[in-house]
């Protein structure tokens, strides 16, 4: 089996099949279905204005994107005025170099990290390791998967694929200074052990790296939203605070950010408000007793600027709440690693082709049933299915889709252009299928329907009633009393 760290979007089909067979993963994924969905809907029901807030949240980010150059310049100006520094990074390489340069200037040996998806996107951990700097993840979930040498499988619950027995195994393997026969059976003991282990790391780190949920143009502030408090210890204790943020995170004012706070926590974890929402503005000030001496913001583009004016512009509104992952039937069946990309689930299916190219990531926008739940729950009203369709079109137009699929689509579109041929073909195949199904006495199973192995390999294909929909429709119009289409309206 491929390890999660080696998975790629190209391997999606194989990885998804393996995920479906993975008993321990399937057990863990039950926690997505049972936890997040119910919590969100309860929180939403408690706030009558939730839908109106979503509309406003969308307007705020649309306004920002329509004026993004001006807001980024204003943000930079205010960071500098507050004594901070802004580093612009066009791509992964540049962002990595910016982080390394800052770390080297202060001779950093260990770096603590708050949870950051952009940090994952630019692979900052392996890069720092290659350069002799030890990155220490401090979010509990991130810490667990760092020990397990895995990438996160969910954008807000990185270790959602791990069961507690596996957490205990990882702690036994890595915390070798502790007695082997200690109790690691309950969650409280596991949490207490991680807390104790990470205490010293917080205090000894030279640099703290966090992400940013929002950047505020008005004040040059960066915002992190967390529950554990690790992000705050990460950014307050070391001498240097580095904020990694992608360019679309900027919002105009503190008031605008407040509106987004209201939709973020409820959509993500179903909380009224996350425990810690921290707004940071520049380094420690004269007379301050604590806080970092330097404040750096690395602004990462990595393909996002090209989305403006494209079919995928709306993904720039995404606030990374994870609601689309939690409500996605594909995500909850295969988990996050199968996608082979930093961002899994519906938002990942749209964003990954931006970062890696459609050639590399083409399977992802195809892995959707278009059920539309992602768009329904998105606090920012992002039309995710529509954008997946745009990627499918792009893939088809560039000749990147698999040959059999292209050939079948071409054949279908030619046939559909000739109604008599289409009807004839449909009548013949339906008649053949009904006869065969009658003989079987049950729906089609594996290997019983040519060209449909991809379907019947996993579930039965229902037997047709005997005539095509079009003939049934015509018949019903002629004899309204018969209503062959079902029990009536």
């Amino acid at each position: 089996m491929t390890s999660a760290a080696q998975m790629t979007p190209r391997g999606f089909k194989k990885q998804a099949s393996a995920a479906l067979e993975d008993v321990s993963l399937q057990r863990a994924l039950g926690n997505v279905r049972d936890g997040f969905i119910a919590k969100r809907s309860k929180a939403v029901a408690k706030l009558p204005e939730f839908d109106d807030l979503r509309d406003q949240a969308r307007e705020i980010k649309d306004h920002v994107i329509e004026n993004l150059d001006v807001y980024l310049e204003r943000f930079e100006q205010n960071v500098v005025m507050q004594g901070g520094t802004v580093h612009w990074a066009a791509d992964t390489k540049a962002a990595q170099e910016a982080v390394l340069t800052i770390c080297r200037l202060v001779g950093a040996r260990t770096v603590t990290k708050g949870k950051s998806m952009i940090g994952e996107e630019i692979h900052v951990n392996p890069f720092l390791e290659e350069n002799g700097i030890e990155p220490v993840e401090t979010d509990l979930g991130e810490y667990i998967i760092q020990l397990r040498e895995e990438p996160p499988s969910h954008i807000i619950a990185p270790a959602i694929h791990v069961n507690k027995e596996q957490v205990a195994d990882a702690f036994l393997e890595h915390h070798t200074d502790l007695p082997r026969d200690r109790n690691l059976t309950d969650n409280a003991a596991l949490l207490a052990e991680a807390r104790a282990k990470l205490r010293d790391r917080f205090l000894e780190a030279d640099v703290g790296i966090t992400g940013a949920n929002f950047l505020i143009a008005e004040t040059g502030s960066t915002v992190i939203v967390t529950n554990e408090g690790n992000g705050d210890l990460t950014q307050t204790l070391p001498r240097i605070h580095i904020v990694l943020a992608s360019i679309e995170k900027v919002v105009p004012t503190l008031e605008d950010a407040s509106t987004l706070f209201r939709v973020l926590a409820r959509s993500a974890t179903g909380q009224e408000m996350s425990v810690y929402t921290t707004v940071s503005t520049g380094p420690r000030r004269p007379g301050d007793l604590d806080g970092p001496e330097q404040f750096h913001v690395v602004l990462v583009d990595n393909g996002r600027s090209k989305l403006i004016g494209s079919d995928w512009q709306d993904i720039l509104r995404c606030i990374r709440c994870g609601a689309c992952l939690n409500h996605c039937p594909v995500y909850s069946a295969v988990g996050g690693h199968a996608y082979g990309s930093t961002y899994p689930g519906p938002m990942g299916k749209v964003l990954t082709p931006v970062i890696m190219g459609i050639k590399e990531a083409g399977q992802l926008p195809n892995a959707s049933s278009f059920c539309g739940r992602c768009e329904e729950v998105c606090p920012m009203h992002i039309p995710l299915p529509k954008m997946m369709r745009h990627w499918r079109e792009e893939e088809f137009n560039r000749g990147l889709s698999p040959r059999l699929g292209r050939w079948a689509l071409g054949f279908w579109s030619r046939a559909a252009g000739m109604p008599w041929l289409y009807r004839l073909g449909a009548r013949m195949s339906i008649a053949w299928m009904s006869r065969k199904a009658r003989k079987l006495g049950r729906p089609f199973g594996a290997g019983q329907l040519p060209l449909a192995g991809g379907w019947t390999g996993h579930r039965d294909f229902p037997a047709p009633q005997g005539i095509t929909f079009q003939s049934a429709w015509r018949k019903a119009k002629r004899e309204p009393s018969r209503r062959p289409l079902g029990p009536g309206r």
Binding site: A28, D34, L47, L53, H63, E66, N67, D69, E73, R74, E76, T85, V86, H87, A89, A90, A94, D139, L140, G141, I144, V162, K164, N187, A188, L191, R195, A217, N227, E228, G229, N230, D232, L233, T236, I247, T253, L254, E255, D256, T259, F261, R262, E272, M273, V275, Y276, T277, T278, V279, T281, G287, D288, L289, D290, G291, S305, K306, I308, G309
Partner: protein, 251 residues
């Protein structure tokens, strides 16, 4: 343009790409005007009705929401009662009788010496500190959220490093919404050139927690395991309420 930007070509590249795409739709002067207006306006968006109550009801809502988020709350009549309330809480929770408090003038004024068994030191948090005491900027009723600001006499580490965190909040510092909190900040933190954004603003709703292991909630991840709020006094009189009837009913 800033001279400090270490990667000027990257900056020009990114901003150039954004600009050329936006120029196809709007012109730069229109964008500048639109952003300038919004930044000057600082207009509040929709504020939920939940927190828009008479002051006394706001305090009650704050308390209820904070407790729902697993914080504990006690109410005392006067600021002079705070040290005794701190001692009581420590005793009831079997916590060591020593606290690190912010060197905040608000807290300086309290009669700490009256608590003979309580050791009180002022300063930033040290890794060995068990319990911290800080004063709040305000409390937001909507979600039971504390708003704490950093300053010379309000070190941020006190909010995160100790095992337990006690926050003192005057009832008349409770506001309805986050927006009200910002407005208050803009009114109080001013110098000649305008208002000053504190280096750190912490919105805190309950004690630290994590659900990262099997989505099961556990309190006390990396920040304080316990958050205790001491609400002092009564809410300010409601201008709209007659006979002050709203302020007669403390929880």
């Amino acid at each position: 343009m800033t001279d400090a930007a270490p990667l000027p070509s990257a900056r020009a590249g990114i901003l150039g790409r954004i600009q050329s795409r936006l120029d196809a739709r709007t012109d730069r002067t229109a964008r500048e005007a639109s952003a300038k207006e919004r930044l000057a306006d600082r207009r509040a968006n929709l504020v939920p009705a939940r927190g828009q109550l008479a002051p006394a009801d706001q305090v009650n809502l704050f308390v209820r929401m904070a407790e729902e988020a697993d914080a504990t709350v006690t109410r005392v009549a006067a600021a002079t009662d705070v040290p005794a309330a701190v001692s009581d809480w420590l005793r009831q929770n079997n916590r060591p009788m020593n606290v690190r408090r912010a060197p905040d003038p608000t807290l300086d004024a309290y009669p700490w010496a009256a608590e003979a068994l309580l050791t009180v030191e002022a300063g930033k948090a040290e890794s060995t500190d068990e319990t911290s005491v800080t004063a709040a900027h305000c409390g937001v009723a909507e979600t039971g959220t504390l708003m704490l600001t950093s300053a010379e006499d309000r070190p941020t580490t006190l909010n995160f490093l100790p095992e337990s965190h006690i926050v003192v909040l005057r009832a008349d510092q409770v506001v309805g919404s986050y927006e009200d909190g910002w407005t208050l900040l803009r009114q109080t933190q001013t110098v000649d050139s305008g208002w000053i954004m504190p280096r750190t603003v912490n919105f805190i709703t309950g004690p630290s927690r994590s659900a990262d292991i099997e989505q099961t909630l556990q309190l006390g991840a990396h920040g304080p395991r316990q958050l205790h709020i001491i609400v002092v006094g009564e809410a300010a009189d409601d201008d709209n309420a007659e006979d002050g009837e709203n302020s007669d009913n403390p929880v």
